[in-house]
Subunit: 175 residues, 2 copies
């Protein structure tokens, strides 16, 4: 009696906290919540799609200490970004394999909110999951502009999952 | 290995279209979507809670043709509102029984967006589902203020489900 699996698109982002490339707190939270509360034991009923949107680093602020002497140097920056993105997706794909839920992951470049909505149009998932930094009970007016935009514009149901208050990093703007 | 069922709070509203009291198009859509895409065959993994918020009819516009001659007449208005609300909830409770998913339903009075967020705080569901009128691809900037408020303020993940474009009534403001 089971129909096609429910296709869930998760928009995931890198952490802004310095260190080894890893998933943002809100992305990990949104993923774990989706597995625990939606997928549950019904792993064959769902298919997860992970989309990571890389923002082109226009001002190159992160690369102030680098020296660019040849076109090759710029290619290596692109390659490094790509590797970071792949590490991020690897994290989620590995978790899905552990859990036993089918998945697919890919990277796009551009403005996250625009790209996410464009990918929803292309992929036509049943559900879009976006994490948001949320902030604690006394600051909870704030919802990330990406999630807000997606709720309004994405052509499918959207679930917004706020970061848990006890997972707020030292600087709540970090994630 | 299954933990406690996922508790889903659905905020449901009456249709604004004249006729026999029935659920709004967006409420029915949000409910059916939740069953098809989230609950699926895993009926024991979920528990649905239906909340209907009745707005006190302050100006009594709908009752212009009625004559009020005694305190009893006002009580009968309240009773009629109550009956309409019960019919609405009966619809969803019946559907849940057909499907075999556990549920609970209740009515509150007040401003829907405020009451929904207060009930989330009290009941602490895992997920809040709110329907919205959405409107077609060329008007999709519009999202109901109730759903927008809940996404920002409710203390749990919120899923916003827009009404399907092919279910838009003659007047898209109706529901």
């Amino acid at each position: 009696m089971e129909s096609e699996p429910t296709r869930v698109l998760l928009a995931v982002s890198e952490s802004t906290i310095r260190g080894y490339p890893h998933a943002s707190i809100s992305s990990r939270g949104a993923f774990e919540w989706t597995i625990q509360k939606i997928v549950r034991s019904n792993t064959s009923g769902f298919r997860l799609h992970f989309l990571h949107v890389q923002v082109p680093d226009e001002d190159g602020f992160d690369d102030m200490d680098s020296i660019y002497a040849s076109p090759e140097d710029f290619k290596s920056v692109e390659r490094r970004d790509r590797i970071r993105g792949l590490h991020l997706l690897e994290y989620f794909v590995n978790r899905c394999h552990e859990i036993g839920v089918a998945c697919k992951a890919w990277i796009k470049k551009g403005d996250p909110k625009e790209v996410i909505c464009r990918e929803v149009q292309r992929v036509q998932p049943d559900l879009l999951v976006v994490g948001s930094r949320g902030l604690g009970p006394f600051q909870r007016v704030f919802v990330g502009t990406v999630s807000e935009f997606c709720v309004k514009h994405a052509e499918c149901p959207v679930i917004t999952i706020k970061r848990r208050a006890d997972e707020t990093p030292q600087d709540p703007v970090d994630d």
